[in-house]
């Protein structure tokens, strides 16, 4: 069953086109990720879907409710965690949670079971003001507040931005537990490596969707070979590879450089031989592309 259906949504702010003719649908129970950098349009899209912003054109429904006409129903069934920490800094942890429960006509006790796993981790600090929490704890409180009214669908806008690798990992573990409980989760992130943790993703850039699919479908759609290359002097290696007659693109990728040849039939032996002329110790081998390779490629194709 489709939980979110978006058809041809556009939104502009004066000169800036934040979203241009976006269409997609998301099934019930999916963990769906919007992957893209700042300014891609992720926040505008989320704000439209939770009825806080009206699109210039197009239609969207969430659990069958129209985001413009049925906005009151949407607010009952959707949980929203904005990108910017938006809880009351001068209320305590417990006061914040109780505030959100009251607004939605429920109590912490009534829905405690839903947030127990997450909230119990910050409960020892329930009398601390929200403003005095660490980044990881704020995130857990914000998620608890977004969940306390038992939403059918969760919208999490960049929950892991600026958060360290350990807290990010823990956060994704929490999301997978929520998914198992049957909640539809729509999450956005600028971290490409988080794509692999979603059921399906949309790669989004400059207001348009570059591609939608499961992470493995998107990777399978990358039809060029990718070579990983490493040598002692990275700076010189990049410069030399950029001048190589085989080079379509070369860029740093973790501990290696990724080299995309301009000829799909280029063999590893041939490439290695040409690199070893100036970098005799270089390591060269073919690798499977990553979501980030796909993103870079799609961005280049578009521009």
């Amino acid at each position: 069953m489709n939980n979110v259906v978006v058809e041809n949504i556009s939104k502009s702010y004066q000169k800036v086109k934040a979203l241009e003719h976006i269409s997609f649908s998301i099934d019930g129970g999916e963990l769906f990720g919007f992957i893209g950098p700042d300014g891609a349009g992720k926040t505008s899209l989320f704000r439209i879907l939770v009825s806080l912003l009206v699109p210039d054109e197009g239609t969207a429904t969430v659990c069958g409710f129209d985001v413009v006409k049925d906005y009151k129903n949407i607010r009952k069934i959707a949980g929203y965690m904005p990108g910017k920490f938006s809880l009351y800094q001068d209320l305590t942890v417990e006061e914040n949670l109780s505030f959100f429960a009251t607004i939605f006509g429920t109590t912490i006790q009534e829905n405690y079971h839903l947030i127990k796993d997450i909230y119990s981790q910050i409960e020892p600090f329930k009398d601390r003001r929200a403003g005095a929490l660490s980044g990881g704890m704020k995130q857990k409180l914000a998620l608890s507040c977004a969940m306390i009214h038992k939403p059918e669908i969760l919208f999490l806008d960049e929950p892991t931005t600026g958060v360290d690798a350990v807290s990010r990992k823990e956060f994704w573990e929490m999301l997978h537990k929520l998914k198992e409980a049957g909640i539809t989760i729509i999450v956005s992130t600028p971290y490409m490596d988080e794509a692999s943790l979603c059921d399906r993703v949309a790669l989004i850039q400059a207001g348009s969707i570059l591609k939608i699919g499961t992470p493995s479908e998107i990777i399978a759609g990358f039809e060029k070979p990718v070579f990983a290359i490493r040598s002692e002097n990275t700076h010189k290696l990049i410069n030399d590879l950029e001048k190589s007659p085989y080079c379509e693109r070369v860029y740093p990728f973790g501990q290696y450089l990724h080299f995309i040849p301009n000829n799909n039939n280029l063999g590893q032996a041939e490439l290695s031989a040409s690199i070893h002329e100036s970098h005799p110790e270089a390591e060269v081998f073919e690798v499977k592309p990553d979501i980030e390779d796909c993103f870079i490629n799609l961005m280049k194709e578009k521009s």
Binding site: S134, D164, A165, T234, H235, P252, Q255, I296
Partner: protein
């Protein structure tokens, strides 16, 4: 790394806020032309240490010097020979490209004539001739990012501090930015940076990882991965930092 000239020297550095020890006996050296990654979980004490090294805050005890200047007694000399850039604040959006260059060069104490020459060189080098009189707000992100870094090193500092410079930036712009970093390091500028992108940790010559106010590990990415029997720097980070988390 270019050589063995010491740019940052830190010995037994301690910084306390009341009962809380934000930096607990830090010891490390950074060399000329090195790309040094300063990693750690949120709240591990990175910002506190960076502020001390930029001459903005004084340690509780211990020694630290930057470019040969002491952080206790010569913070203003330190400020003259460093550059700084963060993703949150780098350029004024309502000033033009030229105005931003002139403003920062002026702040860094450059002479008028030198500013005029350097501005022109920079605009030519970055291919911004047509955009020179445009507001920063109207520039694409990639150009802004390039300009922000160039401005941070316009006064030829010995060292540049980059505080999460690529947070939220698209993958192509992030790569272009790293090419600029390699270039600057190759010319002898020392790069001291924080990041939450673990692939960027792999690009550094050496990396330190802070856990609960202490430096829990410091070495080249390659050696750290061997030491912690890990495939990637992400795994190293998680092994180290997960042990130390108190929330």
């Amino acid at each position: 790394m270019n050589g063995s000239e010491l740019i940052i020297k830190v010995r037994n550095l301690v910084k306390k806020f009341g009962d809380f020890t934000a930096n607990d006996h830090l010891n490390f050296d950074v060399y000329k032309g090195e790309i040094f990654g300063f990693l750690g979980a949120n709240g591990a004490g990175k910002t506190t240490a960076m502020k001390i090294l930029c001459g903005l805050s004084k340690p509780t005890s211990g020694e630290a010097s930057v470019a040969g200047y002491d952080v206790y007694h010569e913070p203003n000399k330190i400020k003259n020979c460093i550059g700084y850039m963060s993703q949150k604040f780098s350029l004024y959006e309502d000033l033009t490209v030229k105005e931003n260059i002139r403003f920062f060069a002026g702040i860094y104490g450059m002479e008028r004539k030198e500013i005029r020459i350097k501005s022109q060189q920079l605009i030519d080098k970055l291919g911004l001739t047509e955009a020179a009189d445009k507001l920063i707000a109207d520039l694409p992100l990639g150009w802004r990012q390039k300009l922000a870094f160039s401005v941070a090193i316009i006064h030829s500092p010995k060292i540049v501090f980059l505080d999460e410079p690529t947070s939220g930036v698209d993958p192509i712009t992030r790569r272009q930015f790293w090419k600029q970093i390699y270039e600057a390091a190759n010319e002898g500028v020392t790069i001291f940076l924080t990041t939450h992108y673990m692939d960027e940790a792999e690009y550094c010559d050496r990396v330190s990882i802070m856990v609960d106010g202490r430096i829990a590990a410091l070495d080249s990415p390659k050696k750290l991965k061997e030491q912690f029997d890990a495939e990637t720097m992400n795994d190293v980070f998680i092994k180290l930092a997960r042990g130390g988390k108190d929330n």
